[in-house]
Symmetry: C2
Subunit: 343 residues, 2 copies
């Protein structure tokens, strides 16, 4: 796939941007994974949807590739060729794959993208190992890229935030629904920024840094990506409760059944409806009632308002930063594509 000329690209729709960046990054990502031990390489390829268990080729869904697109667009926003951002794109996709692999173990999630999670397909020990291999490979890709070591701090800070966000998320499940030790919506927002936002921000910032962007642009893209991550998580929470299962691919109320303390739930648990809601959540078979109560208590509205505010903050950062116009426009369209599903 060849990139269309810049003028045409200014009006490129987000799915085309995503496809263009995936095509640009794929050879380098394939090459990097090929450097792994064959066993961990197969688990990595399975994660990316490139093969079945055993190694037979497959074309299973491997994710939209939002992070790699942000890295490529980050480099282009710095005025560089998108190829300058490819090592950043490979590194963040590897980190993302690592985090999905390990998170599925920690959360006990047996399914990922409609296939068995790696720990289900290959075993827990091998899945731990494959995640470690992807993590190490991500660092190695950056270490061997031109300008890569100088941008190391962007990746290491994101990794630290990512793991901290996952720790907070895991601990939320054990906290009570009501009372002084309950999880606040603000704590949830911080968790989402770490768990989802840090790597999105890192992707764009790392791509920009490899493209030679000034410090101000790198910082603005990092912050914009973090806002995008929070907005994305809040929209995801709304879809998980009230979305069309045919579109989301997830059962309605699945998050509630699993007892997940998502943002709308936490808002409602901080409202006068808290006691009634807590009782409903504690007894199975009341998913629809609970979702309705959360809506009436303002959980849905607060989540959407929060998503809108974080999207606006990301847009403002993009507007004020010194970025190349075409890539900045593609970044904005990508932002809208990712969060406007319900806004």
């Amino acid at each position: 796939m060849t990139a269309p000329p810049t003028a045409a690209r200014a009006a490129t729709r987000a799915p085309e941007t995503l496809a263009r960046c995936r095509a640009l990054v794929r050879p380098a990502l394939t090459e990097a994974v090929g450097r792994l031990h064959p066993w961990t390489a197969e688990m990595a390829a399975y994660t990316f949807g490139w093969c079945e268990v055993g190694g037979a080729p497959a074309t299973a869904p491997g994710g939209k590739g939002v992070r790699q697109a942000l890295a490529v667009l980050g480099a282009e926003a710095a005025g560089a060729d998108g190829r300058a951002g490819v090592p950043a794109a490979v590194a963040v996709e590897l980190v993302h794959a690592f985090s999905l692999l390990h998170d599925d173990i920690m959360d006990g999630d047996a399914t990922r993208r409609r296939r068995p999670a790696v720990w289900k397909a290959y075993g827990t020990g091998p899945a731990v190992l494959a995640g470690d291999a992807l993590f190490a490979l991500a660092v190695d890709v950056l270490a061997t890229a031109p300008q890569g070591p100088g941008a190391l701090r962007l990746l290491s800070a994101a990794l630290a935030d990512l793991v901290r966000g996952q720790a907070e998320d895991l601990l939320f499940t054990a906290r009570p629904r009501t009372g002084p030790r309950r999880v606040t919506p603000e704590e949830y927002r911080t968790m989402a920024e770490g768990k989802t936002g840090a790597l999105l921000g890192c992707a764009a910032a790392l791509g920009a840094a490899l493209g030679g962007a000034p410090e101000a642009a790198v910082t603005a893209l990092d912050r914009a990506g973090r806002h995008l991550g929070v907005a994305f998580q809040l929209v995801d929470d709304v879809l998980g409760l009230w979305g069309d299962p045919d579109v989301t691919g997830k059962p309605v109320g699945g998050d509630l059944r699993e007892g997940k303390k998502t943002f709308p739930v936490l808002v409602a648990l901080g409202s006068p409806a808290a006691r009634d809601l807590s009782a409903l959540l504690g007894s199975p078979g009341h998913i629809e009632e609970a979702a309705e109560l959360i809506d009436r208590a303002g959980g849905r509205a607060a989540a959407l308002a929060g998503a809108r505010a974080h999207t606006a903050a990301a847009r403002a950062l993009l507007a004020d930063a010194p970025l190349a116009a075409g890539a900045a426009d593609e970044l904005r369209r990508l932002l809208d594509h990712l969060v406007d599903r319900e806004l």
Copy 2:
């Protein structure tokens, strides 16, 4: 603890070197661990022997600190103050702790240094998370150190080799004892270089790089550390089969009972005694007989000869490299201390 003057240090015995380096590194290691989320920080502190489950202070054995000593001595061998190597020391100790945490999960080892392994004490998911947090912290420590990013490739290459070695080790268990698919002693040596040698080499090389050593010294220390790792593993295999349990802290023949394909076993399985040995290993209650047969088949002698050869190779590298005399002497004493237990 204050470092004795250089003249006196030239004759320093290895246990004193280890204690001096632990004391030098400890504040920075404590500070780094303190930057983690409190939950992962507690699991890290438990791993280092600083606390019990729940956080109560403890002084459990936390390992000799060989890797941190190599990093400090690497910096000193470059003619720098040992403090220049502290970020390298912290990074490699964090990586070592990460690998122990995850390896214990993969190997199902319930005990580590006479205490429950982290996954036994805190659960598998939290132990995966704590390992990830230590890994990310190691990269971050290097990213924020002066000269750190420039030495990134040394760490990332070691990480890749470490994970590859662990993959090979895990796959060895499933391979047959005899026939064309059996594990060869040479494959075992490669595995040990990755799993044990890569980080030892990285420790000394990274310390030297942060101390401003020339490329030749960095490379020599890296290669010497890798030889040391193989020698150490071979001696460990001998002690696991024929060592005094009061000294090793491990039951005699424990490795055999667990079906581990250690170097002496693999040598014997490649000898005419293979069929008899395979039968003995397949039936419980014949541990002593098996150990005797391995000895008669040359497994012990071959392991000791290999350990001697790798130690000699490490010594030759240290002798030929441009290193400061005092630190090089301490490195040699440390080498002897680690591998001369049976040589």
